[in-house]
Subunit: 220 residues, 3 copies
């Protein structure tokens, strides 16, 4: 009788690890492809992939003064990242880039949801005010890609492509805050938040939503 | 009899809050306009405005390992920033940019002075050596704009436009250090430093001062 | 009899300080020249030179939550940097840039070795896992140049020029880890690591080694 909830927790935890791994790989691949498009060398590819995968959570931890970082506590992930980059250099060809990016949209949307939910919860647990917790959730989910684009000498895609991305994270983060203030069990808030952000992102891709443009058709 | 100094302190404090608010809005607007010029979307506009307004103080606090950040302790400022960005998207047109920038030069100069004085004092209170305290004052006042320009994929304006900006901050910061080593009351040092930096900046704008150029007319 | 080892330690320490100073000047000059090429003003030149010289160690210390920074504990270095920049503005002409860069390759290679060894050892002393310690050694040696290039609005040279640079640091860092796990005296590990990274870098320059290219000749 006792084993059922425990095994459920165990399954949930395993499912969560699998989803997080898929999302992290999706983030890393986005960095890998961005670096390859810019013709970076092997070092640049590994660094940009690492920034895309771990940069958001690391920046959140620097802002919140949390240690150890995820990739210090679970250093095996650095080895996996290195293996992913080496494998990609052997097997990923330029003609696969567009296809890979399309395939990665879905684990990327999952990562957006998961990392938003996790980052917001961490900030709430540290007694941050709601708006700051939401910001920390967004930093976790979005700033890996921002750092990737800055190192590749591009204006960050999340700030210029007029597709809802950070906005989906924003909405999801408020679900965590709402569940927290209503006293709902933590896991319900996390699952609802991740689902909200991911679903909004999927809808934005499928339905082609765009953000309101700044001053359409008017030039300075 | 006792109430007079207290009410003076209260007035000074209120005046200071008003000036700081004006300066922060000026910094935020500089980010907002830079982002709009680069055709960023609504998310990018908010992030770049926030970096311009709070990035310098946040970087100083990261370097000095101080927590909480200003915008964590006074989270209402994040709401005000969001409101400012939304209002700007409705009311600020591209044809207003140049005008707004000209109007913002003066609160921006005030912010340069105030943030320099405040940042330097914070570093002195933490027993930093004088040159480090001066550097922290400059980081507080100048690096919001630097981060704004890096995210907008520009070489930071403070490093390339040959107008005295960081140099005014440098001069003001030394006034704080001088007052500190001479044992003057803290508020005198702060007011004198802020006035020095602001006045130098105003003179630089009005009189069109330029920094010495690097190797004029010579090419590699 | 006792004085011999002591005087040896003293000589080693003095030699080390001289080499570190030469390496830091080489790093600062790389920033100075990069800034001058981009026609930055005096402020930009000083900031970029400072980032190139101290940025790597500072970023490592932020990641590892170590304080005080090198340049806070030894603030005289900030004065030396300022003096170097002022002197360069008087004496360094554009026609000297290429020559200076060639001359700086050798102290730069020494800096690559020394800062790699030092950064890796600091991380091992803080009980970081081996791969994280290696990463910290590389951050120490390489990320000053990365920050220099980001502020100059370039893709970091270490990530795109296909010359082994970070890779030499990577190899040297593993020597520190190896010596540490084998229980060798610390100074042997440090000297061997610095020599390995420096020698590899010198060989890479002299023999014109290049990193494997990503998908040569294929376009998307």
């Amino acid at each position: 009788m006792q084993s059922l909830p425990l095994s459920n927790v165990w399954s949930l935890s395993n499912a969560q690890i699998a989803i997080e791994a898929a999302a992290t790989v999706a983030f890393a691949l986005s960095g890998l492809i961005a670096a390859a498009r810019k013709r970076l060398d092997a070092v640049g590819v590994c660094v940009v992939a690492g920034l895309a995968a771990f940069g958001g959570g690391t920046l959140r931890d620097i802002l919140m003064d949390r240690r150890p970082f995820f990739w210090v506590e679970h250093a095996v992930w650095l080895w996996l990242l290195l293996a992913l980059c080496v494998a990609a250099m052997f097997f990923l060809r330029a003609r696969h880039f567009a296809l890979t990016e399309r395939a990665m949209q879905w684990p990327d949307a999952l990562g957006l949801g998961l990392f938003t939910a996790g980052g917001t919860q961490i900030a709430l647990d540290a007694s941050m005010p709601p708006i700051v917790a939401v910001l920390m959730g967004m930093v976790t989910a979005v700033f890996g890609g921002v750092l990737r684009d800055i190192v590749c000498n591009e204006i960050p895609r999340a700030f210029r492509d007029h597709q809802p991305y950070a906005v989906c994270s924003f909405a999801g983060a408020w679900v965590v805050v709402l569940a927290h203030t209503q006293g709902a069990p933590q896991w319900i808030g996390l699952v609802a938040a991740a689902a909200t952000a991911t679903l909004l992102r999927v809808l934005a891709i499928v339905l082609g939503w765009t953000l309101p443009a700044w001053q359409p058709g008017e030039r300075e």
